[in-house]
């Protein structure tokens, strides 16, 4: 294992070529980055082609907040709640980033937030959000709707 973690800096580059420098302690909140650090692959700038600069900045902000010992429990709760108050596009980007970077606490929160956002929606709205093709015939769709009418009220 790497010896002194205290001052090591990790360099990251987003898909839109923005670079970020963070302390190793912050970066390893991401399991993916932690594995790279442990494997000794984090000496040069790590490219993240599937995370844009805006989202990466948010994720690193989350990680920084969670290693900051001066932050109280209440402050952290409020931070987490406000953090997820995003529009759909940003939320999606955040979801993909949190999944790829495997930032534990963040991923769970984002997944729950997405679930809460979609739970009341109709199937056609779900298809639009997730870009899913409707491969049911109109008759099949109607059958499902009738079979479970109580769920469609």
């Amino acid at each position: 294992m790497s010896s002194s973690k205290s001052n090591k800096i990790v360099k990251l580059e987003s898909s839109d070529n923005k670079t970020f420098e963070v302390e190793e302690a912050v970066a390893v909140q991401s399991e993916t980055l932690k594995n790279m650090v442990d494997d000794g692959c984090a000496n040069d700038t790590i490219p993240l082609p599937n995370v844009n600069g805006k989202i990466l900045e948010m994720v690193l902000g989350w990680c920084k907040k969670h290693v900051d010992e001066t932050v109280t429990g209440d402050e952290l709760n409020k931070y987490e709640a406000d953090f997820l108050d995003l529009d759909q596009a940003d939320l999606y980007g955040l979801l993909m980033a949190a999944n790829f970077l495997n930032v534990k606490g963040l991923l769970d929160r984002v997944l729950q937030r997405v679930a809460d956002m979609i739970k009341g929606k109709k199937p056609e709205e779900i298809r639009r959000i997730f870009n899913i093709k409707n491969d049911f015939t109109p008759e099949e769709e109607e059958e499902i709707r009738l079979e479970n009418a109580w769920a469609f009220d």
């Binding site: 939320l91 729950q112 679930a115 870009n131 499902i144």
Partner: protein
């Protein structure tokens, strides 16, 4: 979200959704239909529900509602299932003036419809099945699957139903193999539970055939058969039945992977002893758990098994001279007879009929003249919940939302 989301992320999102949304989202696409109906997803969704601290299981209350003459199933919060403050607004019970106030409040509450005048306190479950007997009997509740029996009186072998209220689906079980036609008159007791190794839900039936001595149902061992949801069939059990008598329609509880019933040795066959019989749902074997020493030798013991605070419990009825009262005992260390501890007595004077259960916050639910009351063991006060029904129809179980039965073939009661 216009890009492609990996499958495992979709599953993570879906497993956090309530059941009603999932049923609806089966209509999104064929892939989602198959995914949501798959046994693997059903199990994933259930495991998340069971381990979620934000949504503890509900309390399920069942009773026969006399006025409407139908079985009522309601879900209550496990933390404060029957909020007293809806009725009394923090009254001081020790004040004598309160009793007059309470009497007039009682009437007011009665006119409004009792506890069920406050619809925000409970969720009503819509039961598709209409009992052909007096009322339905809840054999058990496991992971959101309820097992109902429609046979309370006599020796008829009635209907058995597995019901998942959250997806409004029920299936009717096939007729058991052991019955009047094959074996003559009998009594039986039932148990329902879950086998985690095979992920199977099972209903076990212990049948005592009428003997030829003066005590009608005193022959051991009973015949045993078990229904498994996985096989959708009844099968006989390899292990011999227990050498004990379980009285007719004894209520059972499911704890530590096994069903438990109160039982005793045969009458007039040597030393008499009360005992608890257990049946493990996984290895399908019978074992026994000792009762507290002071209860072991009591002939004609009126006792029910229960679960209090996650522990195996006994609620015996005591008669001391003119006094009649119930006690609540818990087995602090499962299987260790010396760990039986009496928690408290329930002595409310006349009229105490049955103890239905003990809630998470220590309230005892009991019936008096067909009315459900809440009793506080430390205050020794009773509180009328204004829920009326057939005394024997009351039962309390835990309940979670799940998708169980979604991928089971429709039975008679599918809508």
């Amino acid at each position: 979200m216009s890009d492609y989301l990996p499958n495992e992320v979709i599953i993570e999102i879906l497993s956090r959704l309530p059941v009603k949304s999932l049923i609806r989202f089966r209509g999104v696409s064929k892939t989602w239909y198959t995914l949501i109906s798959s046994a693997h997803f059903i199990a994933t969704h259930l495991n998340r529900a069971l381990s979620n601290p934000q949504h503890p299981p509900h309390l399920l209350l069942h009773h026969l509602n006399y006025e409407l003459n139908k079985d009522s199933f309601t879900l209550h919060s496990s933390d404060d299932p029957f909020p007293h403050n809806h009725f009394t607004k923090h009254l001081d019970y020790s004040s004598p003036a309160i009793h007059i106030l309470l009497l007039s409040l009682d009437k007011e509450i009665e006119e409004k419809g009792g506890f069920f005048a406050y619809p925000s306190d409970f969720i009503e479950l819509h039961c598709l099945h209409q009992s052909i007997n007096h009322f339905l009997y809840v054999v058990g509740s496991s992971n959101g699957l309820l097992c109902l029996a429609d046979d309370v009186f006599g020796n008829k072998v009635g209907l058995y139903v597995l019901w998942n209220p959250s997806i409004q689906k029920a299936i009717s079980l096939p007729e058991p193999n052991i019955g009047f036609r094959s074996h003559g008159r009998f009594i039986h007791s039932l148990g329902f539970g879950y086998d985690p190794k095979t992920e199977d839900y099972k209903l076990v039936r212990l049948v005592y055939i009428e003997g030829t001595t003066d005590i009608r149902f005193n022959t051991v061992p009973p015949l045993v058969e078990i229904y498994s949801l996985r096989t959708s069939a009844w099968h006989s059990v390899k292990a011999p039945g227990p050498p004990y008598v379980i009285e007719m329609w004894s209520l059972s509880v499911f704890l530590n992977g096994a069903v438990h019933w109160p039982a005793h040795t045969q009458r007039h066959q040597g030393a008499f002893r009360n005992v608890i019989v257990s049946f493990d749902m996984n290895d399908e074997a019978f074992r026994e758990v000792a009762m507290p020493k002071s209860l072991q030798g009591v002939e004609h013991l009126n006792v029910t098994v229960a679960i209090v605070d996650g522990l195996l419990a006994l609620v015996p009825f005591n008669e001391w001279g003119n006094e009649e009262f119930y006690s609540v005992w818990v087995m602090k260390e499962y299987g260790v007879a010396e760990s039986w501890t009496k928690l408290f007595d329930i002595d409310i004077g006349e009229g105490l009929e049955r103890v239905i259960g003990v809630t998470k916050n220590g309230e005892v639910l009991l019936t008096k003249a067909g009315n459900l009351f809440s009793y506080g063991p430390s205050s020794q006060q009773t509180f009328d919940l204004h829920i009326r029904g057939a005394t024997d129809s009351f039962s309390l179980d835990t309940y979670v939302e799940s998708l169980l039965l979604l991928n089971t073939a429709d039975g008679v009661l599918g809508n």
